[in-house]
């Protein structure tokens, strides 16, 4: 009797595994639709505002209820991928635009082109929509973004007598290099004009490189993307390399650090400036010693002015969701100008919406808000985010190449060769 018993068990298991597909989702017995919204908000103010907005929506829409799910930036790509493949993705998905390309090409995200209300469409400028548009279809609503700025110790800059830049009259990259040299001389031994936290060097380099006309990724007539390291691409990495290796005006020790790691040195007067994302202001406001004279300065400008690349935070809808219309209605509510302003303040970032950007609280000089707001019009889609194979190129080719170049282990010719030759081999595999 053993064999039949085993057979029955095996068949039962197989049936269990294959035959219990989840039922099609629909309204519950009271006709209420439930949507899952996975938010990646993580700072207390931001989480509170997210939850409050969900509460307000639920109170006003008894037939469409949003279930708030707390997500995490850590491993969000793998977590979403698994959910998509398993047919269990949240209906409304918070992510960053540079993570959307693979999901949209993979058919996991809904095309929102026809679903977006005219108000929302018009409120967000085209350069922001470009960050979430692939194959002329919109796969997410960009709503928060942050430029890279220079966090500066105003006291040290004033003591040195250097010109303080403004968004209207920013430093050029050359001027920036000269100023960091001068600051280093004035500050004395063991102190530096600038600390570049370049643990993740690729996005910082490429995004700032747009200001100097860098592009790196070029699309040919055949639609294929190749990498070309032009003179424009050389300006930003060349400046950093020379500050570290020629002028000794940038700390070599911070090249392997993350942004937060450089803050104690910044507060302690070891570095006069640190290039960081706009939202780092929150950490500075919280952690800086009482009366610490910090100021937000625009990043240096090149021949393309203050232009720089960003990957905004986005809200998308899962292709599998049976409630796409309702999901977009919630997104529309969530991103009404007043709400977008609240979300931006909670995250210390800039809203993408034109109306939200007009809010006086985002134009105050306190905590550098006005400088950031002035940069909003210069923000463009990060150069590589729609390029297939970018992640592999970044991890296997670009990150080690830039790290070695910045530390002085290789020269510019070697950097160029690695980025172009090795990089194009990687991209070619994704474009066959």
């Amino acid at each position: 009797m053993r064999a039949p018993r085993t057979l029955v068990a095996a068949v039962a298991t197989a049936l269990l595994l294959t035959g219990c597909a989840a039922a099609e989702r629909g309204p519950d017995k009271d006709g209420v639709v439930h949507l899952r919204f996975q938010s990646l908000a993580w700072q207390k103010e931001s989480v509170d505002i997210n939850k409050q907005l969900v509460k307000e929506w639920n109170a006003a829409h008894p037939k469409v209820q949003i279930d708030y799910v707390q997500g995490s930036w850590d491993n969000v790509h793998d977590q979403l991928l698994t959910s998509f493949e398993g047919g269990e993705a949240p209906d409304i998905i918070h992510d960053a635009s540079d993570d959307l390309a693979d999901f949209s090409y993979g058919g996991h995200l809904a095309d929102l082109t026809q679903l977006l209300p005219a108000r929302l469409r018009a409120d967000i400028p085209q350069q922001s929509w470009d960050t979430t548009t692939f194959d002329k279809k919109v796969y997410g609503v960009p709503f928060l973004q942050e430029p890279r700025v220079l966090m500066a110790n105003e006291k040290l800059l004033k003591a040195s007598g250097v010109r303080i830049p403004t968004p209207e009259q920013p430093w050029t990259w050359d001027e920036f290099r000269q100023i960091t040299k001068r600051l280093t001389t004035d500050m004395g031994k063991g102190r530096y004009g600038v600390a570049w936290p370049l643990k993740e060097p690729v996005s910082a380099t490429l995004n700032l490189g747009l200001s100097a006309g860098g592009q790196l990724f070029h699309q040919g007539d055949d639609g294929k993307t190749t990498i070309r390291f032009t003179d424009g691409d050389e300006v930003v990495p060349g400046t950093v390399h020379d500050q570290v290796n020629t002028d000794a005006s940038a700390s070599a020790a911070t090249l392997g650090m993350g942004g937060s790691d450089t803050l104690p040195g910044f507060f302690g007067g070891k570095y006069a400036m640190v290039p960081l994302g706009f939202s780092y202001r929150q950490q500075i406001a919280q952690q800086a010693p009482e009366g610490f004279p910090w100021k937000v300065l625009p990043a240096p400008a090149g021949k393309a002015g203050l232009t720089q690349g960003v990957s905004p935070q986005t809200l998308s809808v899962a292709e599998d969701s049976p409630f796409k219309k309702e999901a977009v209605e919630f997104i529309d509510f969530f991103l009404e100008p007043d709400n977008m302003t609240r979300l931006a303040k909670g995250d210390w970032m800039l809203p993408t919406g034109r109306e939200a950007l007009k809010d006086p609280s985002l134009r105050t000089s306190k905590d550098g808000w006005a400088t950031g707001t002035a940069l909003a019009g210069h923000l463009r889609s990060a150069p590589a985010q729609a390029v297939r194979g970018y992640q592999e190129w970044k991890d296997k080719v670009a990150t080690p190449a830039y790290q070695e170049y910045y530390s002085g282990a290789i020269d510019e010719a070697a950097l160029r060769q690695r980025l172009e030759k090795d990089g194009n081999l990687v991209l070619a595999r994704y474009q066959r």
Binding site: L16, L17, T18, G19, C20, A21, A22, R36, L40, W42, Q43, K44, V47, V69, Q70, S72, W73, D74, N75, D78, Q79, L81, T82, S83, E85, G86, G87, E88, P90, A96, K199, E200, G258, G259, S260, L263, P264, G265, F267, G268, K270, G277, S279, Y280, Q283, Q286, Q287, A288, P289, E290
Partner: protein, 277 residues
């Protein structure tokens, strides 16, 4: 031959240095948990917080459901440890006592299975659990943890079983005990240190596991501690350091307490089978 006094002093110094090295991250974690945000930004950090306070702990508890998450982790880890040991013990007994090509192949498979990366297995696993309606449930997660820790638990226990003299089991058989009775009454008590060491391994593996819990548990009230801890971390590695350290410190306590309680038995378990009698 006895070591001279200078040699012994050197040994103690080396041991002390090693202990300091091992304890450094934990002590630094404790120190960080009690520091204020301003002190965390100090260029010259001190071991002892200058103005120690419980604000980070209060904030951590206010922002995240740490107690519920700890409860979930405890349920998942204890269940996984218990089930893994219960399932692995008879299997280990068979593999240790009945050598054949099958048991050799099984041992090989155990070694190979440890080399699979999480991301390779997560999607099929997710689909299976979905069909079993075990997504977003602690039983589903426990099942994964048991499966995940089982090979190594089995591998550990095989060694412990082999260290138990076969003659004892033969004597039990002569006295009329069946295989199950022999396993329960004769082998298992002798295996106790090994069982505890194996259970502790399975417990710590499950207690610290992050990725499966992240992917499989959707509802906030079901999430485990490692997942909740990542809620203090933002994009590009930005972190709310004080509350994160406070929460991480609390998360280490159960493991430490359990380890402290049963460390003597573990030491016995580690040494069991080291020397053939």
């Amino acid at each position: 031959m006895r070591a001279g006094r200078p040699a012994r002093a050197g040994q103690y110094l080396a041991l002390l240095a090693y202990l300091v090295f091992l304890a450094f991250p934990f002590l630094w974690l404790i120190s960080t948990a009690f520091k204020s945000p301003r002190e965390l930004g100090d260029l010259h950090p001190t071991w002892i917080p200058q103005d120690p306070g419980l604000d980070n702990f209060r904030q951590a508890f206010e922002e995240q459901p740490l107690l519920e998450a700890a409860g979930n982790s405890l349920i998942a880890a204890l269940s996984a440890a218990l089930i893994a040991v219960v399932v692995a013990t008879p299997m280990a007994f068979v593999m240790a006592r009945h050598r054949s090509r099958l048991t050799t192949a099984a041992t090989g498979w155990v070694v190979v299975s440890q080399a699979f990366p999480f991301v390779l297995v997560i999607i099929p696993l997710f689909l299976i659990l979905k069909n079993l309606h075990l997504i977003n449930s602690l039983p589903g997660l426990i099942m994964v943890y048991v499966v995940w820790s089982l090979p190594f638990a089995l591998w550990m226990l095989v060694g412990y079983v082999r260290a138990v003299p076969r003659e004892l089991e033969e004597a039990a058989a002569v006295d009329g005990a069946g295989r199950l009775r022999t396993l329960v009454s004769v082998t298992a008590p002798l295996l106790m240190p090994g069982l505890i060491a194996t259970a502790l391994f399975a417990f710590i593996t499950a207690w610290n596991e992050f990725f499966f819990a992240l992917v499989l548990l959707k509802s906030p009230e079901k999430q485990t501690l490692p997942v909740i801890l990542t809620h203090f971390i933002g994009a590009e590695g930005a972190a709310d350091l004080g509350p994160l350290a406070a929460a991480a410190f609390l998360a280490t306590l159960p493991s430490l307490v359990i380890f402290a309680i049963i460390q003597k038995r573990i030491t016995g378990g580690m040494l069991a089978g080291a020397v053939k009698s």
